[in-house]
Subunit: 315 residues, 2 copies
Amino acid sequence: MEKSNFFDFNSYLKVRTQKIEKVLETYFPKAKSYEERVISASKYSLFAGGKRFRPLLCLAGCEVVGGNWEKILLFAAGIECLHTYSLIHDDLPCMDDDDLRRGKPSCHKAFDPPTAILAGDGLQALAFELFSHPDLVKNVNKRRLLKAIYLIAKAIGLKGMVGGQMVDLLMEGKKGSPRILKWIHFHKTVCLIEASLLSGALLGGAKFKELKVLSSYGKNLGFAFQIIDDLLDIIGDEKKIGKKTFSDIKKQKLTYPAIFGLEKTQKLAVKYIEKAIKSLKFFGTRAEPLKALANFILNRIPTNSKFVQNEQISF
Amino acid sequence: MEKSNFFDFNSYLKVRTQKIEKVLETYFPKAKSYEERVISASKYSLFAGGKRFRPLLCLAGCEVVGGNWEKILLFAAGIECLHTYSLIHDDLPCMDDDDLRRGKPSCHKAFDPPTAILAGDGLQALAFELFSHPDLVKNVNKRRLLKAIYLIAKAIGLKGMVGGQMVDLLMEGKKGSPRILKWIHFHKTVCLIEASLLSGALLGGAKFKELKVLSSYGKNLGFAFQIIDDLLDIIGDEKKIGKKTFSDIKKQKLTYPAIFGLEKTQKLAVKYIEKAIKSLKFFGTRAEPLKALANFILNRIPTNSKFVQNEQISF
């Protein structure tokens, strides 16, 4: 069979996203008893139409090092549970107080704050249940699986995502430096994005050099992701981003646009994506999916934006 | 050396508790940056003088099947992180709204609710970081470690502890049956107590029959533990239990004393402890520590109680 150079990103995304959905649905606990409310609440948020970006990165990390992505779907699904838990808790009234998420009322709005706290707690536990599920354990190297769990647990912990959200809250309404803003973005967002990619790579059998390259790609992609998220709070389309715009500004959040203005922020996002894509050179054509994922992030910036020409960046 | 039949429970407890404290202190993340607040908050609750009952059970489960408890200290320490996270979240104003815990202001009182939520979240993540820590992985069978992680994750999940807390909240002020009360206790408390024991046993190399016996012991012990906890809310000494008495009554919680009255509740506790101890017969003299731990729970009931003579129960 002749190998085509054409990489069909849409069908790539479709196949993997469908499988992730399927696994999430299959392994999501069924309510059979009194606990129905908290299961409904976590299900409500988990199946609210997320892009499944982190699990996709996990699968892509596995593939780029020659692993079989279908064997680690349970791990990827667990990462989405972690991401959803973090959104539910971040949206709480005593945290970021966001009423809208993924275009629907936030979990604490659709249910109530205590239910939302418990739903988040349960989703964090579910993630680790999936990470150690017998159906995954039989597919992968156990030493590597334990390493991947360790990596993710650290990434979302007190010195990772949780620490980032703490400082994000503490800086509300305060004047912050670019240094502290980068610190917040790194911990709140970049850590888990990088770990999603690296855990997939570990499970796929990655060598040290490959992990190093992916770590660089992951960090740059993660920063671009959060910068663009900040940007969309101002120039995004509410329907597309699934939450209200100007919410960061109202809460006087420390963001890139607040410090650098729109133009410089957009240029920074492009710069990070360029750096991410450049680091992929090591993988040659195998990196097509990761390249496409990076451009996919960049293309979240509306096409009518004055500052960014949404062309595909290549290395 | 002559083997003595005398089992010194106090020195048994002291040696193990000190090692658990040491491991918790050693592996607890050090704040080096902006995240200091959330690290302080989780540290505040983790080192507030807990009895370390669940980690002790984990170590005892390992020992009774012939395993080396010193090799699994990190796992036991992780279990205490999970327990502490659950206390922090349960105490929140929108949950059980308890201002006092382990004799000190609850986490959200000493800090604030968002910090307490994040501290709990971070402690849950820390538990899984410890469970998959390289220093533990090198000591144990990896397949068994993954099984133990799976067991614990399920026990604290949507169909375990989190589900139990949800229903406990939902039943506040409502008339409940003994059946639903038992359901709540099982999920809220028994699941993690049983899993603590079984995970230790798994890591210690337990055979199927041993796990079955320990499961029965763990369930009975867990029920006794929660029933006595309910009881201490009424007849306990605030200084000893470290929280305010009559708090369940004020919140119209569904408890054993509320349904059965004090006398029957105390008899039930004794019955569960007796059943727990009887199931240990299988292990012969090796079960001394587990027997002593069960009697230790029973002896939390004040000695001036009208209904229970606090003698040692034996099989």
